[in-house]
């Protein structure tokens, strides 16, 4: 029996410690801190309370979408339709309110319900018919956007009542209202992933779906649940989006899915599934937003800052691969 152990326990423990210190989240956090410090030397407008809070406002939608996306990618799936669901939500909200004459409160509920249904449909096809998630959500990326454009005929909806902007443009207790939603969602999502049976099951599914089934985990039900959850969060994000920009357009959230996936992957969630944390995703999303903002304030032209995101994205994966190979975590 003794022959079967090749390394001594202490050696293995040391290896583990090294691996733990260089966890993806830690690497990212260091990048984040260094980045913030560097940027704050470039311009004194960057590291101010006002600016940071305002960035939080802009960050909320991506953050909300990134939470279910983390769950989905951990199980080895992907959801490319979130941007389109967000757009569909916005249009449903505006259309049912202005054209069907529903009270705005009801319109909001209907819109979020439609978004949830959209996510449920994704999950149903993936689970019941075995359509690969990439292709299913690619199809609904087109389909849901198409519905938004078809229903609205690309007309925008304006003229929402004042109270509607409370969520997207005002503060609550000195902090942007939607940021409260983001923070609370992050905490709940983080706790659920790290501390509940459901969260544990997601990791099991992502690492070995068959093994999870053999352990009695209701794999299909959980997968259906996370895609539905993704739709629901896209609904909430859509509502916040409309409230923030005061208007509804059918192209809202176009391309957002890539920002969301980038935040999740940058946050250390493996695109192959099986590993990832909400903390990582939050750092990833914050890093992207602050780099964009900091560079813009330092005089880099607008969207040009996304170059850095691309480089950081690929770079962080390369660094992680390298560290894992060195610490012998991959076999």
């Amino acid at each position: 029996m003794a022959v079967s152990e090749t390394s001594t326990p202490s050696a293995l423990a040391g290896q583990n410690l090294l691996g733990r210190f260089f966890r993806k989240e830690v690497v990212l956090f260091i990048i984040l801190v260094v980045g913030v410090l560097l940027l704050s030397t470039q311009t004194d407008k960057f590291l101010t309370v006002d600016n940071i809070l305002n960035q939080g406002r802009l960050l909320t939608e991506v953050m909300l979408l990134a939470l279910p996306m983390t769950y989905i990618i951990i199980t080895g799936g992907i959801d490319l339709s979130v941007g389109s669901i967000l757009g569909l939500t916005a249009i449903t909200l505006g259309y049912t309110w202005q054209n069907l004459g529903l009270p705005l409160e009801v319109a909001i509920v209907v819109a979020i319900a439609i978004a949830t249904l959209a996510g449920f449909v994704n999950g149903l096809f993936i689970v019941r018919l075995g359509v690969p998630p990439l292709i299913m959500t690619l199809a609904t990326l087109a389909l849901y956007r198409g519905l938004a454009e078809g229903i609205s005929q690309a007309r925008s909806v304006r003229g929402y009542p004042e109270w509607f902007f409370e969520l997207g443009q005002r503060n609550l207790l000195g902090i942007p209202t939607q940021l409260w939603i983001a923070v609370i969602s992050v905490i709940i999502a983080g706790i659920v992933l790290s501390r509940t049976t459901f969260g544990r099951s997601l990791y099991a599914i992502g690492n070995n779906e068959l093994g999870a089934r053999f352990s009695g985990i209701p794999v299909n039900r959980y997968k259906l649940l996370i895609y539905t959850f993704s739709g629901f969060m896209a609904g909430i994000a859509g509502w916040i989006f409309v409230s923030r920009v005061s208007t509804t357009r059918s192209d809202m959230g176009t391309g957002l899915e890539l920002d969301v996936v980038a935040a999740v992957v940058l946050g250390g969630t493996s695109i192959f599934g099986g590993s990832g944390t909400i903390v990582g995703t939050v750092i990833g999303a914050v890093l992207i937003q602050l780099l964009k903002n900091g560079l813009a304030l330092s005089g880099v032209k607008g969207d040009a800052t996304i170059v850095v995101i691309g480089i950081v994205l690929i770079g962080s994966i390369l660094i992680n691969n390298f560290i894992q190979r060195r610490s012998g975590q991959t076999t």
Binding site: G146, S152, D303
Partner: protein
């Protein structure tokens, strides 16, 4: 002491299919169904609307999305190899501007066409290197590449528009033998792509690597080099697509054509390329591109708002994939 030679047997033994069976297998292939779909749609619409059958309109159906078809040829090859590229839109934006900038800074038109194609190939090689040798999944690499390209575009040109190109620059506005050049490019790219995928050893290796990487290794196929090749070809095709995009109108906007990668991937998938790799043809993707344009044109004539087009696209992808899944289930049950 070697194995005794094999007896010679006529090649057309009972195993060879009859021509009716071959015809049926062509008709019921993805390409066959798409071609029949296009023809049916064109015939029915032409019977119903006089202006639909006007040569100009029919030509437009083939021409307008030809540049997408060229990129879709590259995308099909890439997906068959088991990878994907979601940076196509950004790359087209960058290469189109590169082409326009070169010609307005005095380079001859032909140089301004060739260089973007070469740069496209180089970008493809970079993507391929990360995927094949550093083992980063293609979706992540090209997601990052997409950001880098999009950002560079804005850094360099910041939303300007290029005018005043010399008249000999507008390649996509020319016509040869009465047929607009984009259609020529579409046909050539498709035919060359199809022949290459069918007749070259590398083309077949792409099918092998995408279909069963382990078996490919046992057959002595270098999967890393094969993956690189698929990425480079995709880059070159995107380069050609960019030149057509840049030369079709009299101005080039320094922006990324929205949703282009989605259209290209849709064409490939509806054309019968499995997202899991290993199967499909480039002919299918070209037919799918034409079909989508024909549907759009029909919608206009039927007074259906073109804003529903994306829904149609989504439904087409779904139907294609579901039919494929059902077909596989039937085969497995047999």
């Amino acid at each position: 002491m070697t194995a005794t030679p094999l007896p010679k047997i006529a090649a057309n033994s009972t195993a060879a299919p009859t021509w009716t069976r071959r015809l049926r297998s062509i008709i019921f292939s993805q390409e066959g169904i798409l071609a029949i779909g296009i023809i049916l749609l064109l015939v029915v619409m032409s019977l119903g609307f006089e202006r639909f059958r006007a040569p100009r309109n029919l030509l437009d159906i083939f021409q307008a999305n030809a540049y997408i078809a060229v990129a879709a040829v590259g995308m099909s090859i890439l997906i068959i190899s088991g990878n994907i590229d979601i940076s196509v839109g950004s790359l087209v934006g960058v290469l189109a501007i590169l082409s326009g900038t070169m010609v307005t800074s005095g380079f001859p038109a032909w140089v301004s066409w060739i260089v973007p194609i070469i740069v496209g190939g180089i970008v493809g090689a970079v993507n391929g290197f990360f995927v094949a040798y550093l083992r980063i999944p293609s979706i992540v690499v090209t997601l990052g590449m997409s950001s880098i390209l999009k950002g560079s575009l804005i850094i360099v040109l910041g939303g300007t528009t290029i005018y005043n190109m010399p008249t000999d620059f507008f390649l996509a506005q020319q016509a040869w033998l009465g047929i607009p050049s984009p259609i020529w490019f579409m046909i050539i790219a498709t035919v060359v792509g199809a022949l290459w995928m069918r007749y070259s050893a590398t083309g077949r290796a792409i099918y092998a690597v995408g279909g069963n990487a382990e078996a490919a290794r046992l057959s002595g196929i270098n999967s890393q080099r094969t993956t690189m090749t698929a990425f480079i070809i995709n880059g070159v095709m995107v380069g050609i697509c960019s030149v057509m995009y840049a030369t079709q109108f009299n101005s080039i906007q320094a922006s990324v054509p929205p949703g282009l990668e989605l259209q290209v991937i849709t064409s490939a998938v509806v054309g019968g390329v499995s997202i899991l790799g290993g199967t499909g043809t480039v002919i299918g993707s070209t037919l799918a591109t034409i079909l989508l344009r024909a549907i759009l044109s029909s919608m206009v004539f039927l007074s259906v708002s073109p804003y529903w087009l994306k829904s149609v696209q989504g439904v087409l992808i779904l139907v294609t994939v579901l039919v494929d899944i059902l077909r596989r289930r039937r085969v497995n049950r047999q």
